[in-house]
Symmetry: C2
């Protein structure tokens, strides 16, 4: 009985000990959890959620970029540009988005004229859509994307510098063509370029978008684009326009900052006149600009607000093309 | 005896319980500690450790800056500049570092010609030292410091724009005068400007310092400067030079990035010739540049390494002075 009696407290203690331990462990987990929640929002977290790790970790994929060029009815220009871009430093791969539905790609001819330093992949499309170029291509292995229109040539030097700028501003669209929106007293937005001025804004100018037809941006934004409201895709398909405006909305919403960083190009050219197809780009349509203002207002409704922010920063390369570019009156 | 016997396990348990509890508490503290160590390095943490909270939280102190101007033997220019800087937007206060030892300040005259929109404080010095301007002035209430030489005039427009740039790069020296160092094969460094070229560096130019004689920087760096090795102060006093080079070392060490961001000035002028004192600045001394190379090499020894990093980014204001500044050949 004595034993029976005095074992009791032991067992009781054992149970208490157990309860106590579990309580403590729970507390431990809670504290750990709470503190973990506070862990660093490192720069990379500002980047598009996906693609923090590129599919391949190869050094080249980390400090190089992929050129995505959509083409329609300008195969002669395309080949000229493909030749030009073969010699660009840090270029990892070229993805050609082939919007000439039912037509054969020039892949055979291209390969027959090889070898080429940079691999070119032709992605044959089934529908001729503006937003085909905004797919999350499995061939894309780099964090950095350079998107170029098929009628625009930017010098190798401008591209190399802009890429180094993008590496310092990876959550922004770093490009050569700035645009802006203006809020009118009626509350309706207007889309335009330097000709469009913000009444009441003092000296100089501002931009709120950088067009993706000649720009670097993070490949993760292509994944984010796949998760937008259906109305956005409908708007782009209905107008065959504004995919670049939608990307600026997406980036501005993501960062809470101006979507773009404008790099002043030293040499950028439109080669449209050089094509034999005689095809001239969508932006020549009379309704082009009107459509773009229409898109800005539609996107504000879809996203329930205006995320675009203004910037007045223009970046050039120090001492290029010559010393004069930074010397002053002093 | 039975009691004596069976109390034992209880007490033992009690002791075990105690030991266990204390162990658990220690573990808890360790985990908490470890995780706390991982807490966010938020942007502000990149800023100089001190001054995260300005002495006053007044809005004006947060979105305004303090002008610190050191003056020696150029009181006529000083008054001209004080008049000019009175009209600068976002200017919170002017601190004049009075290096005319034993001379009366023009404070009385200045006040007699008031009222003035921006308060001016004269800090009378007891020794004429280059580094007097790098004190942690108690009158300094803003996070942003604009430091200007007493012979340099920068347009109100340039200052307003550069301040907006500094607000986007608060851990950098944002200013109008870039300089660089060059490593020679002998391992000895050379100091210079655009005339000094880095053999083997391709197109364009680079800079690794932004002079504080015409620049914005975080006031916390003035506190950090008070905690540098004695040898740094000795070097500056011995040469009456290089305080600005030392600040670039300090900032580069602190951020691990290029110390400066160069903003291309539209209108910056040297007013030296306008002074009646006929006094011409220290930088006219034959040994000025040699001294500065000497300082770079000394500082590398003192800090046991070369922290300066190169940048080739030049920032201008979009659309100012005119649209042409961003339009291209397209």
């Amino acid at each position: 009985r004595c034993f029976h009696f005095c074992k009791l407290p032991g067992r009781v203690m054992g149970i208490r000990l157990l309860r106590f331990t579990s309580v403590v462990i729970i507390v431990l987990l809670l504290v750990a959890g709470a503190l973990t929640a506070l862990l660093p929002t490192i720069k990379d977290d500002k980047l598009p959620n996906s693609r923090r790790e590129p599919k391949t970790q190869s050094q080249s994929a980390l400090d190089s970029f992929t050129l995505i060029m959509q083409t329609y009815n300008r195969t002669d220009l395309l080949l000229k540009l493909l030749n030009h871009y073969q010699a660009i430093p840090h270029l990892h791969k070229v993805i050609v988005v082939w919007n000439n539905i039912g037509e054969k790609t020039p892949e055979e001819m291209w390969n027959s004229l090889g070898p080429h330093p940079v691999p070119v992949v032709f992605k044959v499309q089934t529908v001729n859509r503006m937003r085909n170029r905004l797919q999350n291509f499995p061939d894309l292995e780099t964090k950095a994307v350079l998107m170029m229109d098929d009628d625009t040539l930017v010098s190798a030097h401008d591209l190399a510098f802009a890429f180094s700028v993008w590496q310092q501003f990876p959550e922004h669209i770093v490009g050569f063509v700035p645009r802006k929106h203006i809020a009118t007293p009626s509350g309706v937005y207007s889309y335009g370029s330097f000709e469009l001025q913000n009444p009441g804004f003092g000296n100089g100018d501002q931009y709120s978008m950088v067009l993706i037809g000649a720009a670097f941006f993070h490949s993760g934004y292509l994944e984010d684009f796949q998760r937008q409201p259906e109305a956005v895709y409908a708007l782009i398909d209905e107008t065959q326009n504004c995919d670049d405006i939608a990307m600026n909305f997406l980036v501005a919403k993501h960062t809470g900052k101006p979507s773009g960083v404008f790099v002043k190009p030293v040499d950028i050219r439109n080669l449209e006149k050089d094509t034999n197809s005689g095809y001239s780009g969508m932006w020549h349509r009379a309704e082009h600009l009107l459509q773009r203002s229409y898109c800005v207002n539609k996107l504000v409704t879809i996203y329930d607000g205006m995320p675009l922010k203004y910037s007045n920063i223009m970046i050039s390369q120090f001492g290029f093309p010559n010393y004069a570019n930074h010397k002053n009156k002093m």
